[in-house]
Symmetry: C2
């Protein structure tokens, strides 16, 4: 790319962000019913036949290009829209519309001895940047969540979904205009260049928070390049520890659920830690294999599985640090709780961790000592989810410790402002 072109791109991305930043204060001052109304308007438009045609036409061109460039089938499936998926988008928007308004809540209030009344009220963050991969549904989900919580939104999707995202963003902007709000509350960076995302990540003062939605490579890139605050989401190398005292039926149910109920998500388990004295190990491994799980074991796990006639391939050091997102599971035999805790501390991504045990002391140690967003005793790791936690909608699952940890709902897209009402108070 020539320098002039890079300058053009920089200016264009900056201008796009500026337009969202300029519109943001208008939304921040709206009442909840208007922010609900724009989502109801958006849902209705998504269900209109001609809008549906526009979206599917645009999506078809992205899919055709994906096929032509040899995109993997799983990615093509994520990219593809169909009438059912568009209807599901509309339903998701209505669900967000119906959530309680997160703004205006008085988080705390107090009066100083001198009579100055202070209160902390919940306000929007301002401008949220979303960087995501080839899932056009994120365009609509992000718009619904941000608008409901009073935030303007700058979208940067994958270049391979650009036509779809352009069409979806235009429907959002039409809904904004229809209720009398500025269209620029939702803007799309309409350039396919990889550098456009890097420029977005550097818009200090215009972007209040950047949320990456995607795989480990995207998250790493954002951490490396971003100069604006980031809400890190999603990578989960989660463990289930089956303690020696575990109830075998419970252990089997939890491990199967954590690994197989939906293997492609971040709260699915990737590694099974098996206490050496757990009496039903062979049955558990046989059950996993029967459920179609490819097992990668430490030497002791392989020896044990071999006796039971269960095929277990050798694990290597990478096994323990890999988010398989598939029916693949590492299995390691551990001698005691200390060894299990050390393994989790070393290889876990601080997402979700579970122990199956009937030993109260082991349960309490695990809860206390494991450093993760969510830690479970005798329950599946799969519960770490905005919906399951009762937050109604999910922005993502934070694996960092600042601002938000675990599932993020609408509240996590807000901040607070302290308001002081005085009668001439000065500091002495």
């Amino acid at each position: 790319m020539t320098e002039a072109k890079t300058d053009d791109l920089e200016a264009e991305v900056r201008l796009t962000c500026r337009s969202a930043a300029a519109a943001a204060p208008v939304l921040a001052r709206t009442e909840g019913r208007l922010r609900r109304a724009v989502l109801m308007e958006l849902a209705a438009r998504l269900e209109e036949a001609d809008v549906g045609c526009r979206l599917l036409d645009a999506n078809a061109s992205d899919v055709a290009q994906g096929v032509a460039t040899g995109m993997a089938p799983a990615l093509l499936d994520r990219l593809r829209l169909d009438p059912d998926r568009v209807r599901a988008l509309a339903a998701a928007v209505r669900a967000v519309a119906d959530l309680p308004d997160p703004l205006g809540e008085v988080v705390r209030g107090w009066t100083r001895p001198d009579g100055l009344q202070l209160s902390q009220v919940r306000v929007p963050l301002g401008v949220v940047g979303f960087i995501y991969e080839a899932r056009p549904n994120v365009t609509i989900d992000a718009a619904a969540l941000c608008l409901r919580s009073g935030n303007a939104l700058v979208l940067r999707g994958s270049g391979s979904a650009l036509a779809s995202n352009r069409a979806l963003a235009s429907v959002v902007r039409e809904a904004l205009a229809a209720v009398g709000l500025p269209e620029d509350l939702v803007v799309l960076i309409d350039r396919p260049e990889r550098e456009a995302a890097s420029i977005l990540m550097r818009q200090t003062g215009l972007i209040d928070v950047l949320i990456p939605r995607g795989g480990a490579a995207l998250i790493r890139r954002v951490i490396e390049e971003a100069r604006v605050p980031v809400l890190e989401t999603g990578v989960g190398v989660c463990h289930v520890l089956v303690d020696g005292s575990a109830d075998p039926a419970m252990a089997e149910a939890i491990v199967l659920n954590a690994k197989t109920q939906r293997p492609g998500v971040c709260n699915a388990a990737e590694t099974l830690l098996l206490a050496h004295d757990y009496p039903a190990s062979e049955a558990l491994l046989a059950r996993l294999a029967a459920a179609g799980v490819t097992l990668l074991g430490c030497p002791r796990a392989r020896a044990l599985a071999e006796r039971a006639g269960v095929p277990v391939a050798p694990a290597d050091e990478e096994t323990w640090d890999t988010e398989h997102l598939a029916l693949v599971m590492g299995v390691r035999i551990i001698d005691d709780l200390d060894e299990a805790l050390a393994h989790v501390a070393r290889h876990g991504t601080r997402h979700s961790e579970a122990i199956v045990t009937q030993d109260q002391g082991h349960a309490e140690r695990f809860l206390r000592e494991v450093d993760a967003a969510a830690v479970y005793v005798n329950a599946s790791t799969r519960f770490t989810d905005g919906g399951e936690f009762g937050f109604g909608a999910e922005v993502g699952i934070s694996t960092q410790k600042l601002h938000a940890r675990g599932p993020m709902g609408l509240r996590e897209l807000t901040t607070v402002k302290t308001i002081g009402r005085g009668s001439g108070q000065v500091r002495t």
Copy 2:
């Protein structure tokens, strides 16, 4: 610097951070009384005569070097320790020791219909990095705040205070050892190279949050270079808007307090916005000048001041964006509230903003529309402070929107962990 030396430095900084990260879990599991005990021990040691001698000797060598290298008198004053200041450090440590324990609080708890009990409990962040300038007292303040809240601490002070910081950190480490805690809970990066700070800022996975304490240049550098999450603190270009309806006595008291009560701090006002129809402008400017404030005015303010015989130098565009931290104040005449709000939005740093007015509509618009950590009606900007807010101690004042906004107390050095207690629950 040769490459080999940079590699050495990188390895040394990384090793220092690793030692803190390795010690952190021990502190996270302690009870509040042990975290209180280590601070009481530290305070007692700071008051011992031989410890005082060690500290003052070390500090004298830093000060001598500062004098030799022509350090500015204000910086030399910040660098200097004396017996009174050491006693004040001990008192500050005891005050933090006496604050309520922020850990273990159950932030929320609920039971799912399937019986899984979930609760969010407050836990430490883990390892906090402090980067600060030549104020050795920050070494002790940071240690007290971090240890009380269960966090390990990596200190990186100014090279010009290295001997002082080394001596202070060794007292903290001795106090840790005396109560049976790992010394490495508080470590100092004992290298003067500027690059050492840059390396610290990149320790993803070892440093959970980085807190810069210092001027605008330090904050900018951290935003540019950091790869770990940052809690941005401190720069305040704060405004007082004197509305046309303001009570003159109240306006004078608030503007004088905001500007002159302690001009060198971030919540002091830097700019006075004067409504064109405020009837007592000349008296207010005269009062500021009499209090020793150098005024920098827009052309209209200068004309008005000239009639009153008050000297006002011309402001330039830089005036409105400068944190003077001194008895200097920009003065601008504004025609209406819109113009004032636009000025604040453009030049404010989202720290603290105040309006003096008797007009309820103007007051409410100002509170609603100004985007800042703290917004006041008829009160001084100087109240934005952990002590004044009743938080007891202050880590800094956040001017960002994520995690913490405004004064940060012990609670802002914590995160949450969701604990699930089940009886075999799986997701369906």
